[in-house]
Structure formats: C-alpha cells, structure tokens
C-alpha cells in the first residue's frame, strides 16, 4: 500500500485542515513579530543607555530569555504562571506572551547592535555640521541602521515561525496535531499516511519560511 498514503491528503477537507493548523502557528508568529518590533526598538535604545541600573536590568532580561530554550519559557508561562498567579491563560495567549518577550529581547539586541555599529565619527561629523541630536538620529543614524536591521528583522520572522511549531507541546491544536488526528483516523485504511502527512507539513513549513529567508538574503546583498 506504498502509494495509497498520499490519498489521505486529498480526502475530504484534510488538506484544508492542515493549512488551518499551520495558520494557527503562523498567526501567533505574526502577532508576536508585530508587537515585538516596536517593543524591541525601544528595548534596544534602552540598552544603549549609559545608566548602570538600566544596563544591568536589560542584560539580565536578555541573557535569561536567550539562554533558556523557548520551550522552557512556554512551560513557565503556560503551566507556571497559570498556577502561581491564578490566571487562566489559554495556550495561545501564553504562547503570544512568550514569543513577544523573546522577540523583544532578540529585536532589542539587533537594534542595539545596529546602533553601536555606527562609528563615533559619524556623530562627530553630524555635530560638526551643526545638527542637533534629533536631526542626527533622524538623518544619520536611522538611514544607516535601517539597511542593517530590515534583513535581520525579516530573518527574525522566520525564526519566529519555526519556533512557534513548539506550541503543540503545550497542547495547542496546530498543524502537527491536526496531522496526527488525520493519521490516527486513517490508521487502518492508510497505514503509510504518517510519511505523507509529516512530509507535507515539513514542506509547508519550508514554503512558509523559505521565501521570507530569500527576501532577507536579497535585501542583505543589495544593501551591503
């Protein structure tokens, strides 16, 4: 029955159900990215402040978020916060919170990197031309950081999409779970369904991420 497994895909609404499952994680990533970008920009600027307290706080936040596997963060948000604070967060809300916290940290670090990459003489030259701080920021810093930041931000989006696949492990019904349901429902009729279903999910993720990666690569090349 080697060739029959693929038929499962086209039975009823199976393929549509898979796409809907994928949309669940894509939606979480999109929401998280959209919220993370402004927060990350603020956080990145916050990290460049010379104040020792703000530096320590942002450093601890960044390092903790970065060193912990995202799945651990998800567990803390979903299982821990729910119990400790008596909040009943749904898996989706916990996921959005975690990915926003993570995205803000990563985005912040990118922004900080871009800001400190601007050589001091750029500020000096701007000052020598009589620009004030806001003008310097607007005409000198922003244009130079944008070219660096945009490709990196796009890349962050693909990382976000890949990482949101973890939400199945806190019990959300997304593409992998839907896949499993389809496989289980057809276990006896189509025993090879698992190969096809997981293969297709693999491909779907690739199709979701690859064009975005390509776009980032192109922009990076063009703007370098």
């Amino acid at each position: 029955m080697q060739d029959s497994g693929i038929k499962v895909l086209f039975m009823g609404k199976n393929f549509l159900r898979l796409l809907e499952g994928l949309w669940v994680t894509l939606r979480i990533s999109l929401i998280a990215v959209i919220i993370s970008i402004p927060l990350g920009i603020l956080f990145g600027m916050f990290m460049t402040l010379k104040n020792p307290i703000s530096r320590a706080v942002s450093r601890v936040y960044l390092e903790f978020i970065r060193i912990m596997p995202q799945l651990v963060l998800l567990f803390i948000a979903y299982f821990g916060v729910t119990r400790t604070f008596g909040l009943n967060l749904s898996a989706e809300v916990s996921a959005v919170i975690v990915f926003v916290l993570w995205g803000t940290a990563e985005m912040g670090d990118l922004v900080r990197g871009a800001l400190i990459s601007i050589p001091k003489h750029q500020y000096d030259s701007a000052a020598a031309l009589g620009m004030n701080r806001i003008q310097t920021f607007w005409y000198v810093v922003i244009p130079q950081t944008m070219r660096r930041l945009i490709p990196l931000t796009i890349n962050l989006t693909t990382r976000m999409i890949k990482t949101t696949s973890l939400v199945v492990l806190i019990g959300m019904t997304e593409v992998l779970k839907v896949g499993k349901q389809i496989i289980d429902a057809n276990r006896f009729e189509y025993p090879t369904a698992a190969l096809w279903i997981y293969g297709v999910i693999f491909l779907l993720y690739f199709l979701a991420c690859w064009p975005i990666s390509m776009l980032a690569k192109k922009l990076e090349k063009r703007w370098r």
Binding site: Q2, P69, L166, L176, T192
Partner: protein, 221 residues
C-alpha cells in the same frame, strides 16, 4: 508560596537522568553537525560542481524548517518506508541535520574571510591545494568562525528541548510528567530552569571566554 523540597529531592534523580540524556543527544548531535558543517563548507568554498548544488538545497531545507517537524518526519514518517530508528538516534540525526547547515554557514564565512593573498603566497611556495587548506586556510578560518560555532552550540543544546515531542525522556518530558501527575508545578519548573542553567551557563561562559581570548590574540596579518 512554599516549595516542597521533599518532592524536589525525591525526583532529583529523574532530572539527573533526563539531563544526561539532553547532554548526550546534544554532544553527538553537535559533533555530527560539525562534521556535516566542515564537509559542506569545504564543498561550497571550492564550488565543487553538482555537490555544491546539493549542499545549498540541503542548507535551505534545513534552515527553513523547524527541528520538531524534522523529528516528526524522521520518527513517525520514515518507519513507513522501512527506516526505523530509535527516538534517540532520530534526535541525534535531526540535530545534525539542523546543525550541519548552521555550522556550515559559520565555517564557510570563516573560510571566505581568509585573504586570497594568503592562498597565493602558499601557492608561490609550491604548496598544493590540499596542503594549503590544511595548513593555511582551515586554521585561520576556524579561528574566525569560533564565535559563530559557539553560538550554534548553544542554539543546538537549546533545540534539544523539543525531543520530548518524540517521547524521549528529557528535561521537558520529565517536567511535563511531574506536572501532570502531581500538580507540583512550581517545583517541577524550578528544577527545569535550574537544570538548563547548569547545562547552559558553563557552555555560555566558556564560549565568551574563548571568544575574548581569540579577540585578544587576534591573528591579524
């Protein structure tokens, strides 16, 4: 909130076993991803026809799919065409498949950072391509790709947290088990975080030490 230390003590051995599994999977996964990375980066560096195309397709696939999905395919999908691997082997293979592309990119950028004049001066001394790679290009490339490699190592250790998805009893699996069985959520989560810190902090500190040292020693021509 009061923590149940008795509970934590009782289940400490579970966590230790789980941590050993995490470390073992990481170790072999990273080892093989370095091997894959070196091979792929050399193929891309020399632009070896056909192989180069295969490698770049592999890199795009590997970098644009989540490890969890790769693992599901390996563990649940492949047996249907007769390839049956244990969960742990799937985890190592998956990690190497994912990590290989990341390592390859880091090492390749190191290879490309070696100046062409270095290669020419080796050639002018009558050195063969292979000898130049071994004695001149690779050592320099490795030094400049160390920061990237270190970042990948940490990234890959973190990625192993998804192996609970294919029923491997790692730290995540044990934690979820304990939460499900006893509702000792805080204790289980604290142990989870503590164990990941014990594994990852030393690696991260070591990585930044190596990086600092390299920067200080900086080859510079």
């Amino acid at each position: 909130m009061g923590l149940d230390f008795g509970f934590m003590q009782k289940y400490l051995p579970w966590y230790i076993d789980a941590a050993i599994l995490t470390v073992r999977v990481s170790f072999f996964g990273i080892l093989f991803s370095l091997v894959v990375g070196v091979i792929c980066s050399v193929i891309r560096y020399y632009k070896i026809p056909v192989l180069q195309r295969i490698v770049s397709v592999y890199i795009e696939i590997s970098r644009n799919t989540p490890l969890l999905v790769q693992l599901f395919f390996l563990y649940f999908g492949l047996p249907k065409i007769g390839i049956v691997w244990s969960a742990e082997i799937c985890a190592v293979v998956g990690l190497a498949f994912l990590g290989g592309s990341y390592m390859s990119e880091s090492i390749r950028s190191g290879l490309e950072s070696v100046e062409k004049s270095q290669i020419e001066s080796a050639a002018s001394l009558g050195m063969s391509k292979a000898l130049t790679m071994k004695e001149v290009i690779f050592p320099q490339a490795l030094a400049s790709s160390v920061p990237g490699i270190c970042a990948n190592v940490i990234f890959l250790i973190k990625e192993t947290s998804v192996v609970s998805g294919i029923a491997l009893a790692d730290l995540m699996y044990v934690t979820k088990d304990l939460i499900g069985l006893y509702y000792e959520t805080d204790e289980a989560l604290i142990m989870l975080v503590a164990f990941y810190l014990v594994i990852l902090l030393p690696v991260s500190v070591l990585a930044s030490l190596i990086e600092r040292r390299l920067r200080y020693a900086g080859f510079g021509n």
